[in-house]
Symmetry: C2
Subunit: 329 residues, 2 copies
Amino acid sequence: MPTIKDVAKRAGVSRTTVSRVLNDNGYVSHEARQRVVEAVEEMGYIPSAHAKTMRTKRSGVIGVILPRISTETASRVVNGIEKELAENGYQILLTNTQLQPEKEIQNIKLLKSRQVDGIILLATNRNQDLLDTISETSIPFVAIGQELSGVTSVVYDDYHSAFSVTELLIEKGHRNVGFIGVPESDHAVGVIRKQGYLDAMKKHGLSVEEGWIQYGNFTFESGYEAARQLLEQSEHRPTAIFAVTDRMAIGALGQLKEKSIRIPEDMALFGIGASDLSRHVTPALSTVDYFNEDAGQKTAQLILEQLSGKVVEKEKIKLDYRLIERDSV
Amino acid sequence: MPTIKDVAKRAGVSRTTVSRVLNDNGYVSHEARQRVVEAVEEMGYIPSAHAKTMRTKRSGVIGVILPRISTETASRVVNGIEKELAENGYQILLTNTQLQPEKEIQNIKLLKSRQVDGIILLATNRNQDLLDTISETSIPFVAIGQELSGVTSVVYDDYHSAFSVTELLIEKGHRNVGFIGVPESDHAVGVIRKQGYLDAMKKHGLSVEEGWIQYGNFTFESGYEAARQLLEQSEHRPTAIFAVTDRMAIGALGQLKEKSIRIPEDMALFGIGASDLSRHVTPALSTVDYFNEDAGQKTAQLILEQLSGKVVEKEKIKLDYRLIERDSV
DNA sequence: GTATAATGTGGAATCGATACCATGAACAAG
DNA sequence: CTTGTTCATGGTATCGATTCCACATTATAC
């Protein structure tokens, strides 16, 4: 690989002049510029980003930490981020935590060692170690998915969406609404969505029987299993199930079909996520669209804003959502 | 951010000694090591990967070029790659081309400027410019998904899988098998899979009527549309449809359902990809599993092999596949 | 026609790490 | 007691770019 020195020699100028041409700053005569451009072309010269970063302290890279790469939600968010950042000349460096909280911290260090200009975290938990690590981090940082105290966060409207879903089911005449949640370590999904459900029930004067609330772990299988539990409620069996993710809802759907329970006549079903799946299962699953791609884009914009140098208040952006009513209710 | 110099000062040793402790090579007394470790800890020192890369010419990063980030296939492949590389101390730098061929070349340059130690390309086409760019590239390179001449490639067994699918449909008694393909610019999917279909038909003495072959562009919608075309064949209407991707198969499924055509009684349906979707639509879609995650892992292993320094022959690895027969046939 | 500004170019320092070489101390072998 | 290893440490060059400063040269103003 040729270096700037080689180009300089070939063009018969100094490294400084080559640098000027490349970055289009300073005075360069027409002839000198011409010769440099030719030399670059002929030698297939590609500047070293490392040397540049080292000198300028800017890498043009934003680190993105994902819980897992292969989820639809994450993919969409990344898409949104990518789109926005690429337009502004930034590149993404993706890392994933395989859902291990300690890896989040590890990855933040890793990204810092690579001099990323900013970090975006798709958060799944909010443990103190993580918060500490972030607050020690001097570079622009935005979290998405969870509200992290002291950190600019982009969050979905977990509470109101869950509330609305529950209320919609109630308005459809259901009084016994079952719920499939996830562990509380994921605050947004595990705590807030449940709260939305509980508050909606309460508002309408409906009690929530023990056994109506089951838990899964985001997988189809756990939804399938949770639905089995819900069906076993001997008296006061739910007539509707609200699962906090589409995958679990579709797992539940499998259970219901297996038991030949008609949907929505005998059991209504609602999910969250607006996954491709939700649209194509039968009956089509009612769900909530969180506009993940827009969320990613918004997050990227916040990072860019911080990057632009102006001092920015830490803020919390709550995004819009939309209920999608389909055949399952 | 503290540098190695700051750590050296704090520990009362030279930079060289700090480097020795960090990389665990050369002689360092117990006390000196102790002091360095403490200093690193206290200052929260994180070494600059850029400086290191610059000096050592090794970045510990493998570039991965994807056609699009948010597809199930790509996600799985990346997962496999990640798993294997992470175990060997490498990191991934992801870029995507948004399906624009010229961006593939652009991204290769970008990755080279970042001194990646190797490049993995999820290829969708095989144009000459791309091949030229790759052959000019001196670093380890592996393509996956398409066979690129002169490049180590990991490919799916597109031909035999398509052949098997077609044959299976024929053995089920179908003589009129319709086909939904994609443009030939994607050689593996557009050309080879179609060839497998055609050869299987020929082998069994079946002619392929004009109009039985339709084309889509990987989307649900295009599958839906292609199926409509297939249904319009007035005489000799197909009794089975083989779509070269699950998404298009599921698009077709929508069309069939809309027209109240019973599956599989009136029309059998087969896809490729073993997507989550295929398992959960009704009726469950028969499909081909290409073991994408294993493919990613295998690809990573090939890169690691090249990285290990031994001279490796360019090779072409053809992967296994598995037909998954479900309710749609 | 001289002072001043604009234009054009290169030398050298710098970013933060590693690698090579030199040097010194401690200790064993002859 | 000299010689040769092993152990321990530091100085300095280097990787490939940018940036600052110095110095010409040319153009413009008065």
